[in-house]
C-alpha cells in the first residue's frame, strides 16, 4: 500500500469513523490529551469477563487521531483486554519502522504513512492510551 492509498484509507475512517458516539454511564472512561495541540479524546469501554464488548469515543482531534480510533474500534471489539497491548505494540512498531507493516495486522497498516512524522505519532496513539486507561477503571 503506497502513501496515497494509505491516506485514502485513513480519510475514509475519518469521514465515517467506527465507534464515534455518546458515552453513557455504562462505559468506563479513559482520557487522552496531546500536549502539542491540546487535542482531547474520551474513550469509553464496556467489558464482560475481560472481553471488550463495546468501545465508544468522543474527540476534539485531527484526522489521524479519529482514524486511529476508528481502526482501534474495528480491531478490538470482542477481543480480550490483553489484545489491546498486543495491537498497540504492533502500532508502535509500525510508527517506528514503516517496513514492519508486512507483519502488522492489516487494519493498522495505513498508519505506516505517518511513521516519518514523529510529531504526529501521538495523534495515532492517543485513543489507545485512553482505552488502556479506561480498562483499568
Amino acid at each position: 500500500m503506497n502513501k496515497k492509498e494509505s491516506q485514502a484509507v485513513l480519510l475514509a475512517h475519518y469521514k465515517s469513523p467506527t465507534g464515534l458516539g455518546e458515552i453513557d454511564e455504562n462505559y468506563s472512561v479513559g482520557k487522552g490529551i496531546n500536549p502539542l495541540c491540546g487535542d482531547e479524546i474520551s474513550v469509553g469501554v464496556t467489558l464482560e469477563n475481560d472481553v471488550i464488548t463495546d468501545i465508544k469515543f468522543q474527540a476534539r482531534a485531527c484526522s489521524i487521531c479519529i482514524a486511529s480510533s476508528s481502526i482501534m474500534n474495528q480491531l478490538l471489539i470482542n477481543e480480550k483486554i490483553s489484545q489491546i497491548e498486543y495491537y498497540y505494540q504492533q502500532l508502535n512498531g509500525l510508527l517506528k519502522d514503516s517496513c514492519s507493516a508486512i507483519q502488522t495486522e492489516e487494519l493498522l497498516r495505513p498508519l505506516a504513512s505517518i511513521s516519518a512524522m514523529p510529531s504526529r505519532h501521538k495523534c495515532a496513539q492517543l485513543s489507545w492510551e485512553a482505552l488502556s486507561e479506561a480498562c483499568k477503571h
Partner: protein, 413 residues
C-alpha cells in the same frame, strides 16, 4: 548601516531583495518557510561569525592572559556591547543567557522571588507565551503572591484601563511586546510610562518583537527586557536580559559557578560585579559573536524598513486569507492591521490536517497551542494554525498557502 540605502525612502527599499542574498541556504523556490516566529533561518554572516568563533577564538573568556585568551575576552565583551547597543542599553546592563526563557527565569528566581510579598500582584496578559507565564505561575504558588491576567478585547487590544492593574498592590507587569500567536504590538511605551509613575516594575518579553520592531530600553525605561538570538536571525543557545541598574543591584545569580566570585572562603562568598556575577560557567563566545552578527545584519537594513516590510507582507497574507470563505482569523494584538504573525482556523478542518496538507505542498506553517495555553484556553480552542514571516518571505509565498487551504478543505470536509 548602509547610509545610501538609509537615505532612500523606506517604502521603496526592497528589504527582501537585499536580505535574500544573505540566506544562501534557504531555497525559496521549493520551500515556503512560514514559521519564523518559532525560529528564523540564518543569514550567512551569522553562520560565518559562529564559525569564526570556533576557528579563531577557542580560548576561555575572562580567564586567560595569553593573547588568544585576551582576544576571546575582548571579542565577547565587544559582542555584548553590540547587542546592548542594538536595544540602546548600557553594555554593563545586558547579560547573556541561554535563551529568553532563561532570562525570564533569572528575573523570577534571581530577583522577584526574594523581594515580592504575599498578596502583591503580578499582572500578565492573556496572550503570554508559557515562557512568560509558567515562571510567574510557579513564583506565585511558592510566595503567596497573586497572578492576575490583563484581558483583551475582541480586536486584540489589552484592557489596560482597569483600576486594579494600577493599584499599589501591583508589584510587576510582565508582558509580551509582540504576541507569538496574535502578532501585532502591545503599547509597551505607554504601559511602562504609566507603571513607572505608579512605582510598578515592568518586564518586557521581546522574543517576538526583536526581529522587526525597534527597541530602545533607554526610552522605554522598563526594568527588564528579555529576548533570544535565534528568533532574530541569530544563533541558538544564546539570549539576553536587559536589567535596569537599580534592579541589578537587587538581583542575585540564578546559577552558581565559575567566574562569578571575587573571593570565597568556607563562610563567605563575595560576588564579582555585574554583569559577570550573572554569567556563571564558561561563556558562550561563538554564540555571542553570532548574536552580534545578527544585530549587524538587522541594522544593516534601514531602520523601520524590516518592520514595515514584514508587517505589510503580513497584511497581504491576511487579506488573502480573509477572502477564503471558510477561514477564521484571530485578531492582531494591539488592534493594528500590520503583523508578521497571523493565526487562523479553517472551518471544519482540524489545524493539524491543514498544516499537513500545507507541508505536503512545501508550505511550513504551524499547528498546535504555540506554548500559549492561557490564550488558547480562553479562546476555547486546542490548536490554531499560525504563519509568521521573516525578511526572506515574499508575496510569492501567499499563493501556495491559499492553495493548501483550499486543498485541505476539499479533502477534509
Amino acid at each position: 548601516m548602509n547610509s545610501l540605502a538609509a537615505k532612500k525612502s523606506i517604502s521603496t527599499y526592497d528589504v527582501y531583495q537585499h536580505a535574500i542574498e544573505q540566506f544562501s541556504h534557504y531555497d525559496n523556490e521549493r520551500y515556503h518557510y512560514l514559521d519564523s516566529a518559532a525560529t528564523s533561518q540564518k543569514p550567512d554572516c551569522v553562520i560565518d561569525a559562529v564559525t569564526q568563533g570556533y576557528r579563531h577564538f577557542c580560548a576561555p573568556v575572562h580567564r586567560a592572559s595569553y593573547p588568544l585568551g585576551e582576544a576571546a575576552s575582548s571579542a565577547y565583551e565587544t559582542a555584548r556591547a553590540r547587542v546592548a547597543q542594538f536595544i540602546n542599553a548600557p553594555t554593563s546592563q545586558l547579560i547573556f543567557t541561554k535563551s529568553c526563557t532563561e532570562a525570564i527565569n533569572q528575573v523570577t528566581l534571581g530577583w522577584a522571588k526574594s523581594i515580592i510579598k504575599p498578596q502583591q500582584k503580578i499582572w500578565l496578559t492573556r496572550m503570554e507565551h508559557n515562557a512568560n507565564y509558567l515562571p510567574w505561575h510557579q513564583l506565585c504558588q511558592t510566595t503567596g503572591a497573586e497572578l492576575k491576567i490583563i484581558e483583551m478585547d475582541e480586536d486584540g487590544c489589552l484592557l489596560l484601563e482597569q483600576e486594579e492593574i494600577w493599584h499599589e498592590s501591583t508589584f510587576l507587569i510582565a508582558l509580551t511586546h509582540c504576541s507569538n500567536v496574535l502578532g501585532g504590538e502591545n503599547p509597551i511605551q505607554e504601559l511602562c510610562d504609566k507603571a513607572r509613575a505608579q512605582g510598578i516594575y515592568t518586564l518586557i518579553d521581546a522574543a517576538q518583537s526583536v526581529s522587526h520592531l525597534p527597541l530602545d530600553v533607554d526610552k522605554l525605561a522598563c526594568d527588564f527586557l528579555a529576548f533570544s538570538a535565534h528568533k532574530m536571525y541569530g544563533p541558538e543557545g544564546i539570549g539576553a536580559l536587559y536589567i535596569d541598574v537599580k534592579r541589578m543591584a537587587e538581583m542575585s545569580p540564578l546559577l552558581m559557578g565559575g567566574g562569578i566570585v571575587e573571593s570565597v572562603d568556607e563562610q563567605h562568598i563575595v560576588l564579582r560585579e555585574a554583569p559577570y556575577c550573572f554569567e556563571a560557567g564558561s561563556p558562550n563566545l561563538s554564540g555571542a559573536l553570532g548574536f552580534a552578527a545578527a544585530a549587524d545584519f538587522l541594522q544593516g537594513l534601514p531602520a523601520a524598513a524590516v518592520s514595515q516590510y514584514v508587517g505589510e507582507l503580513g497584511r497581504q497574507f491576511r487579506q488573502a486569507l480573509a477572502q477564503q470563505g471558510n477561514v477564521t482569523l484571530m485578531p492582531i494584538a494591539g488592534g493594528g492591521e500590520h503583523s508578521s504573525v497571523l493565526s487562523f482556523t479553517v472551518d471544519g478542518v482540524h489545524p493539524h490536517d491543514v498544516a499537513q496538507v500545507a507541508a505536503d505542498n512545501g508550505v511550513a506553517i504551524r499547528t498546535g497551542n504555540h506554548c500559549s495555553h492561557l490564550l488558547l484556553n480562553h479562546l476555547k480552542v486546542g490548536a490554531l494554525n499560525r504563519l509568521s514571516l521573516g525578511v526572506y518571505n515574499r508575496r510569492e509565498d501567499i499563493e501556495p498557502l491559499i492553495k493548501s487551504i483550499k486543498l485541505a478543505t476539499e479533502i477534509f470536509t
